[in-house]
Every structure is written in structure tokens, then in C-alpha cells.
């Protein structure tokens, strides 16, 4: 990746934009422009980095992020595996497509009570995260597996390739850009799912912190939890973006 003038410009503009956003946040908070529930950024940071609160946040982060990771991995594996299955067994494709869209069409909120009964309160967030991630990866992988060009398919046929060899050496590598894009876009979905799930009576996690802070009017705590969750999601999203760039450069 070369740092061209264009890249520098977009990077500088990005930093300026973020700085403006944070400054506006601070200014609105300090001047109470949006009332009591909008604290200045400095107040949120002060609360967040208070050493006596460290333990609280670390425990909440451990609980939430482990659910995010678990849900993300489960959803990805199931989504990619089922997409692979319908690619090899095209007969089941229409049925599976419909099932995936029906599940996706039901709001996660409506399913949450079901998960609480079926699994447990602690794993409801993970289940919603997995469901969100599953749908995105199922869709991106099924479409990705058809991304090989007609010329490449002809090549494998004249080389006398078996179906399995073609899947491994052509369809999967050709699908990789779409899969990685799906993995990028399912990062926020996994965070939303996990944190939303914790609202339904989980005993730990950032979602629980948010709900209890909201109910007890602990505004800096609420904003801290939101800030941590958003930052974590953005960082992972950014890292996946870098991976996506690399994969697009090589596989497309």
C-alpha cells in the first residue's frame, strides 16, 4: 500500500473530521446545549479512566466481548458452512434461502425471550449475535461462491476437474472477497446482538451496565459503556477493512 497524495489527503480529512466531531461533543456538553443527559467528553473520559472503576469496566468488557466473539465465530462458521452445503447440494438452496430470510425477517427482540427460555440469560446475547452474523455470512458466501468467471469454469472443465477440486481451488478462493466483506459488515451486527441480548436480564456485561446506568440516571456511566462498545466495534471493523483491502488486491 503506497501513501499517495490522495491517501494522505483522505487520512488528514478523516482525522480533522473526527477531531471536529469530538470537539462538538465536548462543546455541547460543557454548555449544556442538549440538557443534562449530554455530558462533556472530558467528563466521560474522567469517569471511564477512573482507576476505581477499572475493575467494573474490565469485567463488563470480558463478559460482553466473549459473547461477541463466541456469537461472531458461531454465526460465521454456520453461515459459511451452510452456504458451502447449498453450493454443493443445489437442491436445498431455495429452501435454505427462504429459511435464512424468514429468520432474518423476525426482529431479534422478538426472539430474545425464546432464547432466554431455550438457552439461558447469559447466552441470549451470543445467540442473537450469532443469528445476525449467520445471515450476513450466508448471503455473502452464497453469492461469493458464484463469483468465478465463465472463463475460469471452462478452464477447470477442460482440465478435467472434479467438483470438489473446483470448489476448493476455484469457487472458494473466488468467494473470498465476498466472504471477507461479509465478515467486515457482520462485526457491528455481532456487537449489536450481544449487547442487546444483555438487556434481557443478563447478570454481567456492557449491555447490563447501559440498562442499569440508564435506570439509575448515571449518565457518565451510560456514556462510558456506549463509548467502549462503539470504539471496540469500530476498531475491529477497521481491522477487517484492512484485511478486506488485502484480499481484494489479491483475489479479485
Amino acid at each position: 500500500m503506497k501513501m499517495t497524495a490522495e491517501r494522505w489527503q483522505s487520512l488528514t480529512l478523516g482525522i480533522v473530521g473526527i477531531a471536529l466531531f469530538l470537539a462538538a461533543w465536548e462543546a455541547i456538553g460543557v454548555n449544556r446545549l442538549a440538557g443534562l443527559t449530554w455530558p462533556p467528553l472530558s467528563a466521560v473520559f474522567q469517569f471511564m479512566f477512573d482507576p476505581t472503576k477499572a475493575q467494573l469496566f474490565i469485567r463488563a468488557m470480558e463478559a460482553s466481548f466473549s459473547m461477541v466473539i463466541l456469537g461472531y465465530v458461531t454465526g460465521s462458521v454456520v453461515g459459511i458452512a451452510l452456504a458451502g452445503l447449498v453450493h454443493v447440494l443445489p437442491v436445498v438452496r431455495p429452501g435454505m434461502d427462504r429459511l435464512a430470510s424468514v429468520i432474518h425477517a423476525i426482529p431479534a427482540i422478538a426472539l430474545a425471550p425464546l432464547f432466554i427460555v431455550l438457552i439461558s440469560r447469559e447466552f441470549t446475547g451470543m445467540a442473537i449475535a450469532a443469528l445476525n452474523v449467520f445471515f450476513i455470512l450466508y448471503v455473502s458466501t452464497t453469492s461469493g461462491l458464484n463469483n468465478s468467471t465463465a472463463g475460469h469454469r471452462d478452464l477447470f472443465q477442460v482440465l478435467g476437474s472434479s467438483r470438489t477440486t473446483r470448489l476448493l481451488r476455484l469457487d472458494l478462493p473466488a468467494a473470498l472477497p465476498a466472504v471477507v466483506s461479509g465478515m467486515k459488515y457482520s462485526v457491528p451486527a455481532a456487537f449489536i446482538g450481544a449487547i442487546l441480548g444483555e438487556w434481557f436480564g443478563s447478570s454481567r456485561g456492557l449491555g447490563l451496565l447501559m440498562v442499569s446506568a440508564m435506570q439509575n440516571f448515571q449518565i457518565p456511566l451510560l456514556w462510558s459503556a456506549v463509548f467502549i462498545a462503539s470504539t471496540a466495534s469500530l476498531i475491529v471493523f477497521g481491522l477487517m477493512g484492512l484485511l478486506e483491502q488485502f484480499v481484494y488486491g489479491r483475489y479479485k
Binding site: 477442460v158 481451488r169 489479491r250
Partner: protein, 269 residues
């Protein structure tokens, strides 16, 4: 070197490396309308013979190549390659094809692209053979490069190396240099002629260039379009290996004129 098997009995169908036996091909279009791409085409290619199929674009010459490669099925007639159904050849990994679009896999290095036929055939990769072919197509030292880092002519040479790597019995070339500029193309033809003269594999080349067909082939078959039919056939008299100077002889020019005339729409009545 495999000289053409002139001793084989010409009457038995097995004597022909490729036998396109009175073949017709009709495509059904989206609206249900039928399009006759080729009609009653009869081509016999002997072992170790290089035949060029010459014709304007859309005359069905690529369709014939795709029938021989078992990428399409015939509507009427029959195609046999080495005495059996064309699919048998590709299933046995004994067919080499270079397409107009190089069809290199962008995620593999040049070395791995040429090694692909071994992997698909489930055979151990012969790195000596790959090195030899890379030298043959003048790309030694590019093993670790990726297709996008190469020029169009270089990619085309890699795709020819890939077509040759398993020492196929039959080589099919579908306008492999069609997308190249005239200078590169002439250069590639000289290279291909040199490579082919060393290996003498039964080859069917599809092209719309008169000079390319004459310079490379033992026999040139001219087709007219819609539906594709054979209208002329000439034997190319130049001895091999051919030097590029052949293209400047009177005889070459004379044959080129004859073929060009045959290609013109009013040339055949």
C-alpha cells in the same frame, strides 16, 4: 518428435486425432428462437497436425473448438477425439487449452498457475517441467510474480505454458493472441511456432488473422458465417521450423491473398 502418422489407415475413424464428423450446432435463444451456429461442418485432423480454423468473428469457429473441448454438445453429427468422446480426453487430463482470455487465477503466482493442471489431475508437481516451460515461453525469473503484475503478452504466454505442462495429446488455441497489439502478436506467433515445432502436438487454432494461420498451421480451413460452413481448405507448404522470413516470401503473400479473398463476403460465389 511425433511426425504425422501417415501410415495409419485413413478410413478408420481412430486414425484421426480429431474428427468433427458432419457436425451442426443450434443454440436456443432466450425468446425460444433457434440460431444455427454451424451447419454440417466436417473436419479431420491427423496426429501431430496443426490446423488453423480461419473465419470472420461470429462464424462459429470458436463453437467448433468448444465442441472439441467438450464445453458444448453437438446438435447433429458427432465429434470424436483420439477415437472417443471428447469428454474422455479432458477427464484423462490429456487436453491443453489456451483461451482468448488468459483465464489465469489472480490469486496464484505464475509458478502456481502453471502447476494448476498437476493439482487438478492429482499428480505431483514437476518443478523441472515448469522451469523448462517458463524458459520456453521466455519467462524464467517470473515464478513468484502474480498475473496482474504481467503484461498482456506475458499472461498469454503463461496460459500457453499452462496448456502444455501436462504434455497433452491435443492442444486447442482459441485466438490466444486476439487481444494483443499487432507487434506483440507477431512476436508471440514466432514464439509459438518455435515452441510447437519442438513438441508437435495435434493442434487446432482458431483465429481471424490470415497471417497467423498461414505462419503457424500445416493446413488452413476457411469458414463463412451464419451458419458457419467450411468454404475453403489449403495445405501450407512451408517447411518447419519456420523462420519469420517465411512471411516475406512471394508464396506466403500469394497464399495470404488467396485466403483473404476467400474471407470476403463476395469471394465465394
Amino acid at each position: 518428435m511425433n511426425a504425422p502418422l501417415s501410415s495409419a489407415p485413413a478410413t478408420a475413424p481412430e486414425a484421426w486425432a480429431i474428427n468433427v464428423d458432419h457436425v451442426g450446432k443450434t443454440f436456443t435463444l432466450d425468446g425460444g428462437k433457434e440460431l444455427k451456429a454451424i451447419d454440417d461442418v466436417d473436419i479431420k485432423i491427423g496426429q501431430g497436425e496443426f490446423v488453423a480454423l480461419l473465419g470472420p468473428s461470429g462464424c462459429g469457429k470458436s463453437t467448433i473448438l468448444r465442441l472439441v473441448a467438450a464445453l458444448e454438445d453437438v446438435s447433429t453429427g458427432r465429434v470424436t477425439v483420439e477415437g472417443s468422446n471428447p469428454t474422455a480426453l479432458s477427464r484423462a487430463h490429456r487436453l491443453g487449452v489456451a483461451f482468448q482470455d488468459h483465464a489465469l487465477l489472480p490469486w496464484l503466482t505464475i509458478r502456481d498457475n502453471i502447476a494448476l493442471p498437476y493439482k487438478v489431475a492429482g499428480r505431483p508437481v514437476d518443478d523441472k517441467r515448469i522451469a523448462e516451460l517458463l524458459a520456453l515461453v521466455g519467462l524464467s525469473g517470473f515464478e513468484k510474480a502474480r498475473p496482474r503484475q504481467l503484461s498482456g503478452g506475458m499472461r498469454q504466454r503463461v496460459s500457453i505454458a499452462r496448456a502444455l505442462v501436462l504434455k497433452p495429446d491435443v492442444l486447442l488455441l482459441d485466438e490466444p493472441f486476439g487481444a494483443l497489439d499487432a507487434v506483440t502478436r507477431r512476436h508471440m506467433n514466432v514464439e509459438l511456432q518455435r515452441i510447437w515445432s519442438e513438441q508437435r502436438i495435434t493442434t487446432l487454432l482458431v483465429t481471424h488473422s490470415v497471417e497467423e494461420a498461414l505462419f503457424l498451421a500445416d493446413r488452413v480451413i476457411v469458414m463463412s458465417g451464419r451458419p458457419g460452413r467450411i468454404i475453403k481448405e489449403i495445405q501450407v507448404p512451408f517447411a518447419r521450423p519456420r523462420s519469420p522470413d517465411v512471411q516475406r516470401t512471394m508464396e506466403f503473400h500469394h497464399l495470404a491473398d488467396e485466403l483473404t479473398l476467400a474471407l470476403e463476403p463476395e469471394g465465394h460465389h
